[in-house]
């Protein structure tokens, strides 16, 4: 599997942009202004707020009651729900984009969730921590214990994350379910995109997280 098309960054994600997280800025850049977006696992609604500043009609689903209440208190349209069980209730083509930001690894059925994303939305944007990142590999190889990083600080026994994958694994999953990759990015430890056109194994080793813009493939 190779990426069909890797578009250059427009610079937004690399700018210093105040309170917004670099990966959120990158995701926001992938969304056309004026679109309708569903953010699955929207947390405190930071990404939705960023999208709102760009004239994007955003909705959210969040599992935690505290997160939902904070979102609604910010005036965002967010409902309490579970990505694994609630996406089935959304009709086909309800959104232009469905975003799954740092949530894939916490779902029980990542493959089903991914298929649902591309049923509900014409496009999907998925970001996840890359378990192939060199520090992860090093912690397991040298330390001999399950890796912990700044973005994934929980110990193995109390983490909500149950399905870790590497960038390489994810690309293979997309291939398997005939999802078209319109754009792929890897972010480094500081959330900055890796700028160089590097082979996949480099991304898989040096990308701390992957961000993918997906659309429905032709084959299925």
């Amino acid at each position: 599997m190779s990426v069909q098309e890797v578009l250059p960054l427009n610079g937004l994600a690399s700018e210093q942009s105040g309170p917004f997280r670099a990966d959120h800025l990158l995701v926001a850049e992938m969304v056309k202004p004026g679109s309708k977006v569903l953010d699955v696992g929207c947390g405190d609604g930071d990404l939705l707020q960023l999208l709102e500043t760009r004239g994007i009609d955003g909705r959210g689903i969040e599992l935690s009651r505290e997160g939902v209440n904070r979102c609604v208190a910010k005036g965002l349209a967010v409902v309490q729900g579970d990505a694994d069980t609630d996406l089935i209730n959304y009709p086909d083509d309800a959104f232009d984009y469905v975003i799954l930001s740092q949530t894939l690894q916490a779902t029980r059925q990542p493959k089903v969730v991914l298929e649902n994303l591309l049923r509900i939305g014409r496009r999907a944007i998925v970001s996840f921590p890359n378990f192939g990142f060199w520090r992860m590999r090093l912690q397991l190889l040298v330390g001999g214990h399950m890796p912990r990083t700044e973005n994934l600080p929980a110990s193995w026994y109390d983490t909500a994350n149950i399905h870790f994958c590497t960038i390489k694994d994810f690309v293979e999953l997309c291939d398997e379910i005939h999802v078209k990759m319109e754009r792929a990015e890897a972010l480094d430890l500081y959330g900055r995109p890796l700028r160089l056109r590097l082979p996949w194994w480099v991304w898989n080793l040096f990308g701390e997280q992957g961000v993918f813009l997906l659309s429905r493939g032709q084959g299925k």
């Binding site: 939902v68 609604v72 208190a73 965002l76 967010v78 409902v79 309490q80 729900g81 209730n89 959304y90």
Partner: protein, 400 residues
């Protein structure tokens, strides 16, 4: 037991209550023969009247009107001293200066529903055809009938689009009916602790209450007004049963536990030994002071009949297809009368309709009644929802 009867006796006479039925102390909109109210049962109700209260001022472009829909036993006195009981308004926690619904910002309207007994035409009103109290001759009304009457009042007030329709429980049902019937006239909707259809369990509880009223020998087949009496014992029992459903086991336990009232040892009688018994008896007796027994029958029936999906071929999403209203749905964790699952079904339907919807479940042990109580998280969400809708609507305020 004599003591039971004395506890459930009303302190306010039927005369005092009946005065508010036809000549309320709040403004009244009269609708004559040229403007009948088309009821779902097929009857045109005419003439009829709607009693209402307003708070705040309508702005120049008439864009800041908020309609509050009251619950089963509420009325139009949402944020002022009640003319019968002398108690504060029933939703002063939400409505008032500095509250989420601030009269300095919004023009707030609350009307007594059709079928009520605080100035809107209902079974306790005088039937103009006979000159006597309607009683059971009053036609059976529905939630859509209530909303149709409210819409006529809103027309009368010269308002095209309501900035928000807000309500809990039966009020929430009216909110949903407003959005389904008049989607273009509702900019935002705050539906609290409610459902799109009354469940079998809730209908069962209502039937219990109605049978308690009807079992009272003073009820006289609904004609008690002719006998100059009120079936207060039956109504009090109905209220006691209903009140239990408004609370939760945890809240009752926290409030009363098994504590005794003014005594150390049980009396080995059917006196109110336990605090929870005294509390329920008080709730029952204070309710009959301000409420009409037949009104209770009609309004519970209206809730029983409510089923938005049923009105749309069984598909709830059809009721909201293409709707542009901004929704906020709120439920409470310990509400077993309108549990979160019912709100979730509504939210799923709204999502399927591509509606802009927020949904929050508030953690509290206070049961269904939580929407009337001081629950800060609920107020934060209500405030934020209304403010963000206000921003989108172009309602600006110096505090924003």
């Amino acid at each position: 037991m004599g003591s039971v009867k004395s506890i459930l006796s009303p302190a306010i006479s039927a005369d005092e209550r009946s005065h508010e039925v036809d000549h309320p102390s709040s403004p009244v909109a009269h609708f004559g023969a040229d403007q009948p109210l088309r009821l779902d049962c097929g009857i045109d109700l005419t003439p009829f009247q709607i009693a209402y209260k307003t708070y705040g001022e309508l702005n120049a472009d008439r864009s800041n009107a908020v309609l509050i829909c009251h619950a089963l036993t509420g009325d139009q006195h949402v944020a002022n001293v009640h003319p019968v009981t002398g108690k504060p308004g029933w939703w002063e926690t939400l409505v008032g200066p500095g509250r989420p619904l601030d009269p300095s910002r919004y023009f707030i309207i609350c009307s007594n529903v059709i079928g009520g007994c605080m100035g809107s035409t209902g079974p306790a009103s005088i039937n103009p055809a006979t000159g006597k109290v309607w009683g059971l001759d009053f036609p059976v009304i529905t939630i859509p009938d209530m909303v149709r009457a409210q819409a006529m009042l809103i027309d009368r007030l010269g308002i095209d689009t309501l900035f928000a329709v807000v309500g809990g429980s039966m009020g929430g049902m009216q909110v949903l009916q407003w959005t389904a019937a008049y989607p273009k006239r509702v900019y935002s909707a705050l539906a609290i602790a409610c459902s799109t259809r009354h469940s079998a369990q809730n209908i069962a509880f209502h039937e219990l209450g109605r049978q308690a009223v009807m079992a009272d020998p003073d009820w006289h087949n609904g004609g008690y007004a002719d006998h100059g009496i009120h079936p207060h014992r039956g109504l009090a029992v109905a209220r006691m049963a209903a009140h239990i459903t408004y609370l939760s086991d945890a809240a009752l336990h926290r409030k009363f536990g098994r504590r005794m009232q003014d005594r150390e040892l049980p009396t080995f009688s059917f006196d109110a030994d336990f605090q929870v018994e005294s509390y329920l008896r008080y709730q029952g007796s204070s309710f009959v002071e301000r409420f009409d027994a037949n009104s209770y029958l009609y309004l519970t029936r209206a809730m029983d009949y409510f089923d938005i999906a049923g009105d749309h071929g069984g598909v709830l999403a059809k009721a909201f297809a293409g709707i542009e209203t901004r929704f906020c749905v709120v439920s409470f964790t310990s509400d077993w009368l309108f549990p979160t699952s019912e709100s979730r079904a509504l939210v799923h339907a709204l999502n399927a309709s591509s509606a802009r919807v927020s949904f929050a479940e508030i953690e509290t042990d206070r049961g269904h009644d939580a929407f009337l109580l001081d629950v800060p998280e609920f107020f934060d969400i209500s405030r934020a929802f209304l403010q963000s809708a206000g921003k989108a609507r172009g309602l600006t305020n110096k505090d924003d």
